[in-house]
């Protein structure tokens, strides 16, 4: 019996183009017959930007892909078109921005990869941390920050925090490469806290240097 599941994927993924009504792949950005822009389909952020799924991602590659797609899909390319085409291009550009913003930041990229693999790490909200070493480290850093009395001392702490962030990103890369998702999960939580500490150090340094003049 032929069910939807047994249809070849390509046939199941055919949709009528909204403009010329002919068949168009659900993944296509433009109809190959009439050229009309299509709605952004379901796709993970890597697929959307034409990138291999993985933690290691060169910023230059990400930018090149993102700019390349935006050049074709940004609403500025559709300013004189019909309202429907303008709306679709806005949806496409919005989806591209979402993908770009998620993949650009190592923390969000790591959390996203874990989510794709079925693991959840909440990077937006403060969750509970069950890693006593990490908690201790964070507490010590906060104390040091509170006690640092000059811009130089704070700048030193900021530099240390930024080094820690860089080291953690490196470790994350190794964990993902080894397919060690548990390790990657722990490191992602750690990266979240280290990033917060670096931000706090930066904010404190900015406040201090602004008193200079």
């Amino acid at each position: 019996m032929m069910t939807k599941d047994t249809l070849p994927a390509a046939a199941a993924a055919l949709l009528p183009c909204w403009s010329c009504k002919g068949p168009v792949s659900a993944r296509a950005l433009f109809c190959s017959t009439c050229g009309a822009v299509q709605a952004p389909g379901q796709a993970d952020h890597f697929t959307r930007l034409g990138l291999a799924r993985g933690f290691d991602l060169a910023p230059a590659d990400l930018d090149r892909q993102y700019f390349g797609f935006q050049r074709r899909l940004h609403p500025d390319r559709f300013a004189t078109r019909s309202p429907k085409e303008r709306a679709l291009s806005q949806q496409q550009a919005t989806a591209l921005n979402d993908a770009y913003e998620t993949l650009k930041d190592p923390l969000r990229r790591a959390a996203y990869l874990l989510r794709l693999a079925g693991q959840v790490v909440n990077v937006e909200q403060a969750g509970t941390v069950d890693d006593p070493a990490l908690l201790m480290e964070a507490m010590e850093m906060r104390e040091a920050l509170a006690e640092a009395d000059g811009p130089e001392a704070v700048a030193k702490l900021q530099a240390k925090a930024e080094q820690d962030v860089a080291a953690c990103v490196k470790a994350l890369s190794a964990a993902f490469a080894a397919d060690d998702l548990d390790g990657a999960g722990r490191l992602t939580t750690r990266l979240k806290y280290l990033g917060k500490l670096a931000d706090e150090a930066k904010a404190r340094r900015m406040r201090l240097t602004r008193h200079d003049f």
């Binding site: 249809l7 070849p8 390509a10 046939a11 055919l14 009528p16 183009c17 403009s19 010329c20 009504k21 002919g22 068949p23 168009v24 792949s25 993944r27 296509a28 950005l29 433009f30 109809c31 190959s32 017959t33 009439c34 050229g35 009309a36 822009v37 034409g50 090149r64 892909q65 700019f67 390349g68 797609f69 935006q70 050049r71 074709r72 899909l73 940004h74 609403p75 500025d76 390319r77 559709f78 300013a79 004189t80 078109r81 019909s82 309202p83 085409e85 806005q90 550009a93 919005t94 921005n97 979402d98 770009y100 913003e101 930066k202 900015m206 240097t209 602004r210 003049f213």
Partner: protein
């Protein structure tokens, strides 16, 4: 049949020739400028005397006449109570916002107006900043039409990057009143970068420092191969060269009061002191000292000022801009020495103190080889051409201010953070805090502070009909959408029952649709005809798309039709094409519908063929064209 082949998504607007010109407009606090681009060559449109600047000053006569520009500015001193300047500072402002600064503005506010948009009393009329800005835009439009001998009906209009949602909406409304379709609102620093980058082939990280009459913006942009990506932006929508003038005017008035023994000030004195201060500021940008007179009736006063004193008066304002610059560098995570160049925009960057402080901050002399008064309009013109004719350049802009919602205790929950690339859509879930709560107030705010009362309120609306549940059980999903103009739409939805409400964020300080309708009717532009023309154009664009789509389909799948069926479709095509030369919108729409009906069976057969081919394992390359970005 011969078929034109275009890049996907790049088919040209088939009726571009029907339209008037699309220009770029810098609607400034002090001056406005209009420019036109053709094949990448730009031209500032000037009056008969070669002036590119149109003073953003409007004089209202008792007889209903409206005068804009140089002549209006001349009357600023003679009839100060009927002449309006610097109206941009009030765009999108509410009555409460303006009270705080009322003393420093040369306007008489209509105190009767409660809440909502601020209104001005002038020459026996009550006008909103939107209407006054529309009068300026009408003059700008007229200038462009006179210079080109052709109608102008579309424009890219620039706004300060730091303009909030209310001010952006007000600008768009003003254009609508003036009979201009806004192709895009572009941030001023971004427009300047476009003009600058395209002229100089600049690549790398650039800062645009834009100090105008009433607004300050700083943007950091990454430029490469025609892509202008805004990395971070900041500013102050109420900081500019006007503040220098005010400081100098206060200095003059204090001297005058001391010399003449006065203690109270008339509005006329304040205006003349301001005008004198402006002249003094401009002089002191080239010379190091001078003497000026405030001459009212029989009471002249003399005021000497040197550059050092002027700079001491201006310093606090320049210092504020430098602090904002540092903050934006921090936001972008870069240091000043990573910035390859600093572009100066805005007349106030002619002040030597400003140039010195900017050079100190970035450790390099700033670039100002394009006239800082005109560079924004030039960029806007380039973008207008890019939007209407096509272009390889791409502007990727960001939200200047965070957008969020009020939560319990007056705390702001940010939904979209500042410096997020637009367009963007983000949603967040909230819940009820009382058992059986059946409604929720959605209060949308804009700003960086944690508490609601320190942010700008954009809109409030109530989501009704939440089914009774225990506290915390309802799931209310609030979605924020910001389009490429930077304009926000908010919708709220209870996800269990699907109760939904949507608002374009407009009410708090904006004009309601009804108010707009009244103004459009009252405007001299025959608004109804104007609106009808716009609808006709839209319908023709839609007809053009429909024609191209059917022709493209015929070129590929014509064999699916019998001769009779094909003749039917071709007749519908020809009928619609014939209608395009007319002006009957309903007929064009009927033609579109008829073509749709005539191709219904054709469409079904094409889908069937596609699926059959896919099932048979025929290569679906043709169907599966995805886009490969340029390597």
């Amino acid at each position: 049949m011969l078929l034109q082949i275009h890049e996907p998504g790049q088919t040209p607007d088939p009726h571009a020739d029907d339209r008037g010109l699309a220009v770029g407009i810098d609607l400034g606090t002090t001056n406005s400028v209009v420019a036109l681009a053709h094949d990448g060559e730009t031209r500032v449109l000037r009056d008969g005397d070669g002036n590119g600047l149109i003073p953003s000053v409007v004089a209202y006569g008792e007889d209903g006449t409206v005068l804009v520009g140089r002549e209006a500015r001349r009357q600023l001193l003679e009839r100060p109570d009927t002449v309006i300047s610097s109206i941009k500072r009030l765009m999108g402002r509410g009555v409460a916002d303006v009270k705080a600064v009322a003393g420093t503005l040369p306007f008489e506010l209509d105190s009767a107006a409660a809440g909502g948009m601020v209104r001005l009393k002038v020459a026996g009329r009550t006008l909103t900043p939107v209407e006054i800005s529309a009068d300026i835009l009408r003059a700008v439009k007229a200038r462009a039409e006179a210079a080109q001998g052709k109608g102008v009906d579309r424009a890219v209009i620039t706004v300060p990057a730091y303009f909030d949602d209310a001010a952006r909406t007000a600008t768009k409304d003003a254009a609508r009143l003036a009979g201009l379709e806004v192709l895009r609102l572009v941030n001023e620093p971004t427009a300047a970068a476009l003009a600058y980058g395209l002229d100089n082939g600049a690549e790398g990280l650039y800062a645009v420092y834009d100090l105008g009459g009433g607004t300050f913006d700083i943007s950091l942009l990454h430029m490469e191969k025609g892509v202008f990506q805004v990395r971070a932006t900041g500013g102050d929508a109420a900081l500019g060269g006007d503040d220098f003038d005010h400081a100098v005017a206060e200095h003059f008035l204090a001297e005058r009061a001391a010399a003449l023994g006065h203690s109270t000030l008339t509005s006329a004195e304040a205006k003349q002191a301001l005008a004198t201060a402006r002249v003094a500021k401009e002089c002191l940008s080239v010379s190091t000292q001078g003497e000026w007179f405030i001459d009212l009736g029989d009471q002249p006063s003399r005021h000497a000022l040197d550059r050092a004193t002027f700079e001491a008066l201006a310093e606090p304002f320049v210092e504020r801009t430098i602090r904002i610059c540092r903050g934006v560098l921090e936001d972008a995570g870069v240091t000043a020495d990573e910035v390859k160049g600093v572009v100066l925009v805005g007349g106030s960057t002619r002040v030597p103190l400003v140039r010195r402080r900017v050079a100190e901050l970035f450790g390099r002399p700033p670039l100002a080889d394009i006239n800082p008064d005109e560079v924004v309009a030039v960029g806007a013109a380039l973008q207008a051409e890019a939007l209407t004719v096509g272009s390889d350049t791409l502007l990727l802009d960001v939200t200047p201010l965070s957008l969020g919602l009020e939560t319990m205790g007056g705390i702001v929950e940010k939904v979209i953070h500042r410096n997020t690339p637009i367009p963007v859509a983000l949603a967040q879930e909230f819940t009820t805090y009382q058992d059986g709560q059946d409604a929720m107030l959605i209060h949308v705010v804009q700003g960086e502070r944690e508490m609601v009362d320190q942010c700008r309120s954009l809109a409030r609306f109530v989501l009704h009909g939440i089914p009774p549940m225990t506290a915390g059980a309802a799931r209310i999903r609030v979605s924020f959408t910001v389009d490429a103009d930077g304009l926000l739409t908010v919708s709220a939805r209870e996800t269990v029952t699907g109760v939904e409400q949507q608002v374009s964020v407009k009410p708090s300080y904006g004009l309601s649709e009804e108010e707009m309708a009244v103004m459009l009717r009252a405007s001299m532009l025959h608004a109804r005809e104007d609106m009808e023309l716009r609808l006709l154009t839209e319908t023709k664009v839609e007809a053009g798309r429909s024609l191209l789509a059917v022709k493209a389909a015929l070129a590929v799948d014509k064999d699916l039709l019998s001769a009779g069926e094909l003749a039917g479709i071709e007749a519908a095509l020809a009928a619609l094409e014939a209608l395009l030369s007319g002006t009957d919108r309903a007929a064009v729409q009927a033609g579109i519908d008829a073509l749709e009906a005539a191709t219904k069976i054709f469409a079904e057969r094409r889908m069937d063929r596609g699926i059959r081919q896919a099932l048979a394992g025929v290569s679906v390359d043709r169907l599966d064209q995805t886009l490969l970005p340029d390597a």
